[in-house]
């Protein structure tokens, strides 16, 4: 049984427009899958639908986590079961510090795991872990007491996304264009932070336009995603090929 499985997944916008047109995919622990596609292919829609955004309606098919159907569950329940989406454009939450937000999120997940009974993380343990992860991801300590993503640079937002991932320890991470807006040094740190988490306890789905991030997060499988469908699959060599010849080969092909 795969950790994350998409079965014939179809996703529509609220106005009924179908964006994702039947995706089949299995991701296991210790695996990195890359979904590569051009702009407008529906990559972000796919990631939002996996995470449970209410504006993206699953009209057909299923999402399974550890064999359990989570298609109808809300975003919080998916996160509590170990699904994590690193946002392409993380939202700012004024008035809520990174620290208090992270503690609330960790405690929400712990509560869910503890049969809906509060089981808050001890503050010293939380602080030790937070500061260790911040150092590892080169996030300045000052950011911990700032309001979440409020006035953060693009690079800071992406680092804080990965910091959240490191703190929440998901079982499956979906990264939506995590490389966009990052310079090479920041990309190395952020991608390195993800790579370290991948192992027996975590698998990842890396959604990207460019091959660049895959130099740091080594994919085991590459899926080419065009027009809302996976049009070709292969190993890491497929990413190199795309970098050289682009997506022309599949674009304009009727779906």
């Amino acid at each position: 049984m795969a950790l994350l499985e998409l079965k014939d997944l179809h996703v529509s916008l609220e106005d009924g427009t179908e964006i994702v047109k039947g995706v089949n995919l299995k991701v296991d622990s210790n695996e990195v899958h890359a979904i590569m596609g051009p702009n407008g292919s529906g990559k972000s829609t796919l990631s939002y639908a996996i995470a449970g955004h209410p504006a993206y309606q699953i009209t057909q098919g299923q999402i399974l986590l550890d064999g359990e159907d989570i298609t109808e569950t809300e975003a919080d329940e998916r996160a509590q079961k170990g699904l994590f989406l690193a946002f392409q454009y993380p939202h700012a939450i004024p008035g809520v510090t990174v620290t208090s937000f992270l503690r609330s999120a960790i405690n929400a997940v712990r509560k869910a795991k503890n049969g809906a009974v509060d089981d808050p993380i001890p503050v010293p343990e939380f602080r030790t872990e937070l500061f260790a992860q911040m150092e590892r991801l080169s996030v300045s300590r000052e950011l911990a007491s700032r309001y979440l993503n409020d006035g953060f640079s693009g690079g800071e937002k992406k680092r804080v996304e990965i910091l959240q991932m490191a703190m929440l320890k998901p079982r499956i991470a979906v990264l939506d264009e995590t490389d966009s807006g990052l310079d090479i040094d920041a990309l190395r740190i952020v991608a390195g932070g993800v790579q370290e988490l991948i192992g027996p306890n975590m698998g990842a789905l890396v959604i990207t336009h460019y091959q660049r991030i895959l130099n740091y997060i080594k994919p085991d499988f590459v899926h080419v995603f065009v027009g809302g469908k996976i049009v070709e699959e292969g190993g890491p060599e497929l990413a190199k090929k795309l970098e050289e010849s682009g997506y022309k080969e599949w674009e304009g092909v009727p779906a």
């Binding site: 955004h53 946002f87 939450i93 004024p94 008035g95 999120a105 309001y147």
Partner: protein, 393 residues
Amino acid sequence: MANAEAAVRFAELPVPTTHEEPWRFTDLRGFDPASYPVPTEAIGAAAASVLPDLDVAASAEVSEGGITIHADALPAGVRFEVLDEHDPRLYGLVGWSDKFTAHNAALWKHGLLVQVAKGVELEKPLYVRIANSVPGGALFWRLLVVAEEASRFTLIEEYASASPDLPGYTNAAVELYVEQSAKLEYVSVQNLSRETWHFATHHARVERDAELDWVAGGFGSKRGKIRIQNDLNGPGATSRVTGAYFADGDQHLDYDTFQEHIAPNTESDFAFKGALRESAKAVWRGMIRVEKDAQKTNAYQENRNLLLSDTAHADSIPGLEIMANDVRCTHGATLGRVNRDEVFYLMARGLSRAEAERLIVRGFFQDVLDRIELLPVREALGQALESRIPQAL
């Protein structure tokens, strides 16, 4: 203590209607202040406080039955006592020019004088609680505060009701004299029953180099109007007013603020934030007036509302009247809703919808809460706001 002149004025004036500009958004139809009897005894238990466990220097409780003062350990130079109707400063700032101030001046029975002598500093706050307890009754309340030269202290005033749906009418008049180089922190929290009509006029005069730091919390009442006026009367005077309010059901809050710059080199900074649920309404009217001698004025006003339902409503009416030519005046008003994408972002981290919304609403208030210097008051108001955010919006 009937003030005959005020009683005549009250009788002459009609209840304001929405044809008068200040009352345009606050309809008083169905309310007749003259129909409320003025009881002389309180009924039942004391009202609950939203500011629990404050360590205070002195306290007073006011109800229909009178005023009870606990002021055993006050240092010399601090008067915390029943207000004398012959006090020379009485009516100096709040007279009886309109219907509601006239009603108060005509009928008030219970008042408190807080006067702190020159140079005296109080570490612990002074506290007064005003609570109505008689169904269908009126409660008139008068507060006179004098911060003499270079004194420093904090006064906390809390309005409450003996039960959450007690019908009633409360009318308050508050005069604050902040003399040269004094610093007054004034906290006024209104948590009356949602069936209480509440009218209050708070007027402060701030003299040379004096500082007034004011916090207004609004949670209760049915409908009415709270007027807040600050006169910056001496060079170097500053005032800061921070407002936070939360209304739900069919509550209707109305804040009418007035920043009056009379002397040069004065500063005022008013920031009000509110969240509204269900069919609640809020009106905020802000006026900055800069008199012609008040050069180098720096004045700021803002009002930000967060609507938590489709039927909640807010009106913000900022205003400027500037007679001087070398001033800096800025204002802003916004109206927002909880953003669905923000809620999703937090839910995608495992927070339930209710927790996500609570965090967003709490965050909305954080910057006004951060302006409150007294930590226990800041925390208590934060909790009071949070407790009003329900499990599901």
